[in-house]
């Protein structure tokens, strides 16, 4: 413990930091644009406080729990974990808590966070974000929505679609596409729009998919409105051009930055944040009104 003079004095009651740093373990596949911003946030916080932060992600809950096990055997100073599948992580998180390693949960899994012994939860569950998107699309007059799933069986993506379904009121159809082949995405969305003229809204769950879907709407000559999750420079430009209605912004940078801050505060000052309630990071919406401001930030990978 006691690394920086700027930090509050280490209380004798506070757990001793071993210097192994913090471990961030998520259910995002490497290279996923959403989770990459989380990674950026966590690393920025690490740099800020001068502590080591390692980031790992794997969509398979078994692999994720093995990564937690590894962090425990390394005796890290704290673990940040996203819980898309709380059941599967229960045992591993329990081991971390038993080893007196503070755990902060992020993104989904707020319900189980406290029960598992995490000190706090930061984030926004995926279905809440989906509900927000559904509301906005409903307001824009969408009655039949196409929800484009780019990774079949991914819990987070499924929850986003389901959330949108709950608030939209109309029908939601799902479409499976292959994220590593954008020509395929464009063609499949076009096929869907060509064969079902009823569809008047498209919700993509990834910024690259959004761009492919934008082309598809053009190709099919459809009037469907397009909305997306998450940002990229291209998405912001498209919002500015009116091609994309809005982007759901969970401000996931915070889901990386804040937990490191909280763990740091806990380790040095035994602070806990939220008073037993989750700390919400969103959902925010990027629309034509605020797109210009976030454009630069999205390009830098912090939004």
């Amino acid at each position: 413990g006691g690394q920086q003079s700027a930090a509050p004095p280490a209380s004798s009651a506070a757990p001793q930091a071993s210097g192994a740093g913090f471990s961030v373990i998520t259910h995002g596949a490497p290279g996923d644009s959403f989770w990459d911003v989380v990674k950026n946030g966590a690393e920025a916080a690490g740099k800020q406080y001068g502590v080591k932060v390692t980031y790992q992600g794997d969509g398979d809950p078994a692999k994720q729990s093995q990564l937690i096990d590894q962090a425990v055997s390394e005796k890290v100073d704290g673990i940040v974990v996203s819980m898309a599948n709380p059941d599967a992580l229960k045992e591993a998180i329990g081991k971390a808590v038993a080893a007196k390693i503070p755990v902060v949960t992020i993104n989904s899994g707020a319900e189980s966070s406290k029960e598992f012994g995490a000190i706090t939860h930061v984030g926004q569950s995926e279905d809440v974000a989906g509900r927000g998107a559904g509301e906005q699309l409903k307001a824009a007059g969408v009655t039949k929505l196409l929800c484009v799933i780019h990774e079949a069986g991914n819990v987070g993506l499924d929850q986003r679609c389901k959330g949108a379904e709950q608030t939209l009121g109309g029908t939601v159809e799902r479409l499976q596409v292959d994220v590593s082949n954008l020509a395929d995405v464009t063609s499949k969305v076009t096929a869907k729009l060509q064969s079902d003229q009823q569809v008047n809204g498209v919700l993509s769950l990834n910024p690259a998919i959004a761009i492919a879907a934008r082309d598809a709407i053009k190709d099919a000559g459809s009037q469907a409105k397009l909305a997306t999750f998450d940002l990229s420079a291209d998405v912001v430009t498209a919002i500015n051009d009116g091609e994309i209605l809005f982007a759901v912004d969970q401000q996931q940078y915070l889901q990386g930055y804040l937990p490191i801050t909280f763990l740091r505060l806990y380790n040095t000052n035994l602070n806990t944040v939220g008073g037993g309630l989750a700390v919400n990071t969103g959902p925010g919406f990027v629309t034509k009104d605020n797109a210009a401001q976030v454009a630069k930030l999205a390009e830098a990978g912090t939004r």
Partner: protein
């Protein structure tokens, strides 16, 4: 004791219909699968058979087809390339990064991408021929390493997992028109990628059937030791095949990058197997020595049609893969049964 007019008619040759003789060819077996799948979807979905619909499913079939043809040549030569899919991403990333972050002209950036792709293909070939490790494992190594490089370098340069903004680069317009434009035919716009695909298939077919190199490709895949024993430059042939695959990956990567003007670091992962699948549907043997370029091109269309056709029919997305799997199995089975009927026994 010998029959006088031997050349005219050999009594040891039974009369066999034209249909049966045609069906024996690897590519024509695949045509049966093609027709079956087309009829199946066209009968149920008018959009599928409309010019617009056709333009739509031909588009991904074209980029897949370019790769499938190159991969088919490699497979006929007895090797695999698992790094081909990721290499499309690498080529695209090089193009966009150089053009947008380092101010390269698009054409120059493409040239650099080509050189890098060729180098990677050469390295794959060299390691395979030198170490005699199976290419499956060597290119798996390349696959993983390129995947890491794509992500690591992109992150290091841009701070995000994608590079974008190619539209504003010098030379974009001309390159885009040639590699990613569209052509109007009867009021429907088709992608130029389709032309590239036809070109690649034609060249590959010529090379296989009518050039010395083609003879060598079949030979190194059929029996490398025997081929080497009669003086075929087996190592050179294989290295050239790996480089061909790399060029195809560069072409497809450039087409996609120019079209979407941005590239994600994880593009192409997993596609390598789709290429192999298309080649196998088209009649290539996994063990090498047998197959055709046209067959692979047809295999790509079959895969593309099945993949898109299910969407046109509007079947439940959750069951998508189930239908896709069933469809592919039936198409290859049809192909197989036809060829078996035509040729009976072949060891």
């Amino acid at each position: 004791m010998t029959v006088p007019a031997q050349a005219a008619a050999d009594e040891r040759v039974a009369h066999v219909g034209l249909a049966r003789r045609l069906l024996i060819r690897p590519e024509l077996g695949a045509v049966v699968g093609l027709v079956a799948v087309f009829v199946f979807f066209a009968a149920q979905s008018p959009v599928f058979r409309s010019p617009d619909g056709i333009a739509n499913w031909l588009d991904p079939a074209a980029t897949l087809g370019i790769m499938a043809v190159a991969v088919a040549l490699l497979m006929i030569g007895g090797e695999f390339d698992l790094s081909a899919g990721v290499l499309t991403g690498t080529s695209g990333l090089i193009l966009v990064t150089l053009a947008t972050r380092f101010g390269f002209n698009v054409w120059l950036a493409m040239l650099v991408g080509l050189v890098v792709a060729l180098a990677i293909g050469f390295a794959n070939g060299l390691v395979v021929t030198r170490t005699r490790l199976p290419s499956f494992i060597v290119t798996l190594g390349t696959f993983l390493m390129l995947q890491g490089i794509n992500l690591g370098v992109t992150k290091a340069i841009t701070g995000t997992v994608q590079v974008s903004g190619l539209r504003r680069a010098d030379g974009f317009e001309s390159a885009n028109a040639i590699f990613a434009g569209t052509i109007e035919i009867g009021g429907t716009s088709f992608r130029v990628a389709i032309l590239w695909w036809i070109l690649v298939t034609a060249v590959a077919t010529w090379v296989l059937m009518r050039s010395r190199a083609g003879n060598w490709i079949f030979a190194v895949g059929g029996n490398e030791h025997a081929a080497r024993a009669v003086g075929v430059p087996a190592a050179r042939t294989k290295i050239a095949l790996f480089m061909t695959t790399a060029v195809a990956a560069w072409l497809v990567g450039s087409i996609l990058a120019l079209r979407y003007t941005s590239v994600q670091a994880n593009i192409g992962i997993g596609q390598e197997f789709i290429y192999i699948i298309a080649a196998v549907i088209g009649g290539c043997l996994l063990t090498g020595g047998y197959g055709s370029a046209i067959g692979a091109a047809i295999g790509a269309v079959i895969f593309g049609m099945a993949d898109k056709g299910i969407v046109f029919l509007g079947w439940d997305a959750d069951w998508f893969k189930f239908f896709l799997g069933g469809m592919l199995l039936l198409a290859t089975l049809a192909n197989r049964l036809v060829r078996r009927y035509a040729e009976e026994v072949r060891h």
